[in-house]
Symmetry: C2
């Protein structure tokens, strides 16, 4: 299992990338045949490797000079930065020299470059990015789209539902995941014209469609897969990611009120930390780029070594399961009314 | 100050409505001249009054039989339920027999009926409902629109920004509140066509426009007023309202793990409760219906007596300030390009 890892992607690259790879190798063990291909500036990668014990890691380095920044326009990578770690890593995967690609870099750039270089799965109009949310249950909820496609037609939302459902089923191991359409009310008469039409498509689909779901249903895990456009999805995702930080700020404000409050907060901190750990998005192993001919896992720019590890483990998991084949065969059996294409 | 209170509105009506009115009278004191007009079934209201000490409350009862349910279609109230407490309460306000209207009933019905019966402020295309969010700062953030208008043009979002800014300024007491446009990135090139055009309108406006803001900026209070369409706003609002419940469920799950965990949770509970209290949406006094010729405050169906009290106090506050006059005079001075109307 060869993973092309964008060693220059995250905000703490290549240190966190290298440490994450070492952790992944340790977790999977020698028998796993994991091989990490660090793609990026050799000198920087070697320097990061010199700081850790990489004896358990089977790796190689694919040197390339250029780096895609977080501020780079996604569409320009393929024109102007073909020597970047991001482009080269995806190319290695497209050429069959790697089984998956992992990056904590510019999400939009991975999305655009991945779609163009890997190509779309037959039947997919728009690749999508999903994102896992913690819930009160043991299993997370998957929100698709989490920011890749901001203007969506019913056909797109429908495809997100199919891809999300297959991904959830294969990766979380739930046979018929509940698919909900994110809306402003449960009644089927609610929502925009696009939402109303999507409801009809989903109702006629082979999915386990539970109807409309609301914002409050996400963390309560009332569905497994929440379908929405990338504008709504991205705003919810970023809102959700802010909660832990806000809570920490509130706890600190309380502690600063006085000596007794400081004592009380100090006493509760370890328990609170344990409880909030489950809300840590780092645990969820990045988000998949769904709908491309390949496996691309994208992580947050601030990904910790642990987060990078989880992204690599996720990539191995996805690559070893036939997610893309199932997406293609499912979409091939479906007929979508012309007005929605 | 005469407040027409929809006594049949909330899930716990009329008990919570009556208790809330008593609390409001206590808080404002005799000198306030508060008069609550309970609109609804006299028998039920008297029964609720008999359970409390209403000696400090100056009230009257406006009897009407019909009740608007949470499931009633908003548009049908004006045709079929003109004898409902919701319709009659708004009518009392429109006829000048009350200075404001307060309801914990069907939000859509208050919105639709309020708009039709009270009429729109000159210059307002679409009335809107805002919602306050707690932030890490002392002052809350106002999200407009929180669910009233799901399909919005730039002109509508622009008006929400104007109305939200004036409301925030008058009610929270901040002279030039920061107005942000909710988007999927900070760069001005981000977002849908509607968002891009709205950005231009806001940039040229007299508002204190801080540019695009993201989902994570809401609870961190990076702006005072967050502008979005009602589809996005409603989903975020309901997502946010679920956080406390989810946290409670997580804390309980932790306590159920064992004896030591139960002890730890028991010890931290009082402090955690104090900290989370600031996130309690009940404290925020309902949401205003902005853009109508009148003062209508709408609360959650599950509003507690405390929440009803805060709604009444908010209605008194809004009615005593010239919010609507300022909205009209501000909109009168602005020219919006024709393609956005």
């Amino acid at each position: 299992m060869r993973i092309a890892l964008d060693a220059m992607g995250g905000d703490f690259a290549p240190d966190n990338e290298v440490q994450g790879a070492v952790l992944a190798a340790k977790t999977l063990g020698i028998q796993s045949n994991l091989e990490v291909i660090f793609v990026g500036r050799e000198k920087d990668i070697l320097s990061a490797l010199s700081k850790v014990d990489a004896s358990g890691l089977n790796y190689s380095i694919f040197h390339t000079d250029e780096v895609v920044g977080m501020g780079d326009e996604p569409a320009t990578v393929i024109k102007k930065k073909r020597n970047s770690s991001l482009f080269k890593g995806i190319e290695l995967h497209a050429d069959g020299k790697a089984d998956a690609f992992v990056s904590a870099g510019n999400t939009g750039a991975v999305m655009t470059t991945g779609t163009l270089v890997l190509g779309r799965i037959k039947g997919v109009t728009r690749p999508t990015i999903g994102s896992f949310f913690p819930t009160v249950h043991k299993r997370p909820a998957l929100l698709v789209d989490a920011g890749a496609n901001i203007d969506c037609k019913p056909r797109h939302l429908y495809e997100f539902a199919i891809m999300g459902s297959i991904y959830y089923s294969k990766i979380i191991g739930v046979e018929h995941p509940k698919v909900g359409l994110l809306n402003i009310g449960e009644e089927r008469t609610k929502g925009t014209e696009v939402i109303l039409q999507t409801y009809e498509l989903l109702e006629q689909s082979p999915l386990n469609f539970t109807g409309n779901v609301e914002g409050r249903d996400i963390l309560f895990g009332e569905a497994d897969v929440f379908v929405c456009d990338g504008f709504t999805g991205n705003i919810i995702l970023k809102f959700a990611e802010s909660i832990i930080g806000v809570l920490k700020a509130k706890v600190k404000q309380h502690a600063d009120k006085g000596f007794l409050e400081k004592l009380a907060v100090g006493a509760m901190a370890p328990t609170l930390r344990k409880i909030l750990k489950e809300f840590d998005y780092q645990e969820y192993g990045g988000v998949p780029l769904l709908g491309v001919n390949g496996v691309a896992i994208i992580g947050h720019g601030k990904s910790s070594p642990k987060a990078i590890e989880n992204m690599i483990l996720r990539a191995v998991d996805v690559a070893s399961k036939n997610v893309n084949g199932l997406i293609a065969s499912t979409l091939a059996t479906l007929t979508i009314p012309a007005e929605n294409t």
